[in-house]
């Protein structure tokens, strides 16, 4: 089966106008061979961004959409022009919003698999063309974004898991970008990057990038590679439980005369015992505990 990228290049070559439907994954709209809109199930929709960032109600968007769909396709004013005319947002904001939505959705759509692409000639998106992307440029940009993620943190394991910030970190000082801050504040240990993106009203790719940056700075919990991970199963509390601790004490073998040196029978001990690392916060905690115990007597 040809890839989405190949189909898109073919349609661009034909100067096609219509919608490329990729099953549940989403839709790509083309106008005269150029991409003018895209929607992915994995990324927040334009409506979500408008609602979360600009407080534009779903009702206002729906009204503009219905008004636009009542008229002849391609006639003026388009749905997008209606939104601007109502003073809900500026032309620059609308264009930039479409720009981020399309780049974001395209990144996920071009990697989507397991669908049967269908092209509906002549179908247009209600917003009307706000920004034109040529297909090769879009494909190149998606490839660049993929490389950027890869470079930040080469593992995709955190992309679909809930974002869990570490309660305590090894570093003494951390510098965050504003988006990383939003991700940390928004993370509730259950939301995945895609859910966070919808909640924050930020493009899914940007949140994914921020999550990988946080992971590479060692600020997020990274799942231990284990059987649950290999199967691709979501983490369960059982999977998180420590394995039965090995016997920490050295064993004397029957008939032996020498006592094994301390530690030899417990090479695995270090894996489950907390590591002694002279962390001043640990020492401070111990001192405070001792003081509290002394105060009780």
């Amino acid at each position: 089966m040809p890839s989405v990228g190949n189909i898109l290049s073919g349609l661009a070559g034909d100067h096609a106008t219509g919608s490329l439907r990729l099953g549940k994954a989403g839709v790509i709209y083309l106008t005269d061979g150029r991409v003018t809109y895209a929607e992915s199930a994995a990324a927040p929709r334009l409506e979500d961004l408008l609602a979360a960032r600009r407080g534009i109600s779903a009702h206002a968007v729906r009204q503009a959409r219905q008004a636009a769909s009542r008229q002849q396709p391609g006639s003026r004013p388009s749905g997008g022009e209606r939104l601007v005319a109502q003073g809900l947002l500026t032309r620059g904001e609308l264009e930039f919003c479409v720009l981020s939505t399309v780049l974001d959705a395209a990144y996920f759509l071009l990697r989507a698999t397991g669908h049967r692409p269908r092209f509906r000639r002549g179908e247009r998106h209600w917003l009307g063309p706000q920004w034109y992307f040529d297909a090769t440029g879009l494909l190149r940009e998606c490839e660049r974004r993929r490389a950027q993620l890869e470079q930040t943190w080469p593992s995709a394991e955190l992309d679909t898991l809930p974002v869990v910030p570490l309660a305590r970190i090894g570093a003494q000082r951390v510098v965050l970008s504003s988006l990383q801050w939003e991700v940390l504040v928004g993370a509730d240990s259950t939301a995945t990057p895609a859910e966070l993106a919808r909640k924050l009203g930020r493009p899914a790719y940007s949140v994914l990038l921020a999550v990988r940056q946080l992971a590479s700075s060692g600020l997020l919990r990274v799942p231990e590679p284990g059987p649950a991970e290999v199967l691709g199963a979501p983490e369960t509390p059982e999977a998180l439980e420590a394995p039965a601790p090995p016997d920490p004490l050295p064993r004397r073998t029957r008939g032996a005369t020498e006592i094994p040196a301390a530690g030899t029978g417990s090479s695995e001990t270090r894996e489950w015992l907390p590591r002694a690392n002279g962390d001043p916060s640990d020492v401070n905690l111990l001192i405070r505990l001792r003081n509290a115990l002394e105060a009780m007597t």
């Binding site: 961004l49 960032r53 600009r54 601007v84 947002l89 500026t90 032309r91 620059g92 904001e93 264009e95 930039f96 919003c97 720009l99 981020s100 780049l103 920004w131 190149r140 940009e141 660049r144 974004r145 950027q148 510098v175 970008s177 504003s178 988006l179 009203g201 930020r202 493009p203 790719y205 940007s206 990038l209």
Partner: protein, 126 residues
């Protein structure tokens, strides 16, 4: 009320402006260009410039009292001219960065900064 292309036209109307790029800071993508010669590699230029801004923020944040920093604009002067970078806050994604290269002899830095500042208010309402 300005669109992205109008914004670029206005940037190019700044006295001494040679070329301009609008960059999406999060991904380092060139969103739109004005006056750039065909030989210039806009994609890599945009990626490099957004990286420059990011690196500068990282460098400044540790020297700033309070540990937070917000860049209003950044001026780089080379043998060939002035280079102005201005992040415009957008309500949707990371900032949109306006980059403009100005002729060393014919431009007025103060005027260019002023014009960019006025422009950002007209492109985005926030």
């Amino acid at each position: 009320m300005l669109g992205i292309e109008d914004c670029l036209t206005e940037v190019m109307a700044i006295p001494g402006a040679l070329d301009a790029i609008l960059i999406d800071q999060t991904s380092g993508t060139a969103v739109a260009t004005g006056g750039v010669s065909r030989h210039a590699d806009v994609e890599r230029s945009a990626a490099g410039l957004s990286e420059t801004l990011r690196a500068t923020l990282d460098g400044l944040v540790l020297t700033s009292p309070g540990g937070t920093v917000r860049i209003n604009d950044m001026i780089i002067t080379t043998d060939g001219g002035h280079h102005l970078l201005r992040p415009l806050e957008t309500p949707f994604d990371g900032p949109l960065v306006v980059y403009v290269r100005l002729d060393l002899e014919r431009s007025n830095l103060a005027l260019a900064r002023h014009r960019l500042q006025a422009l950002s208010g007209r492109l985005m309402s926030t």
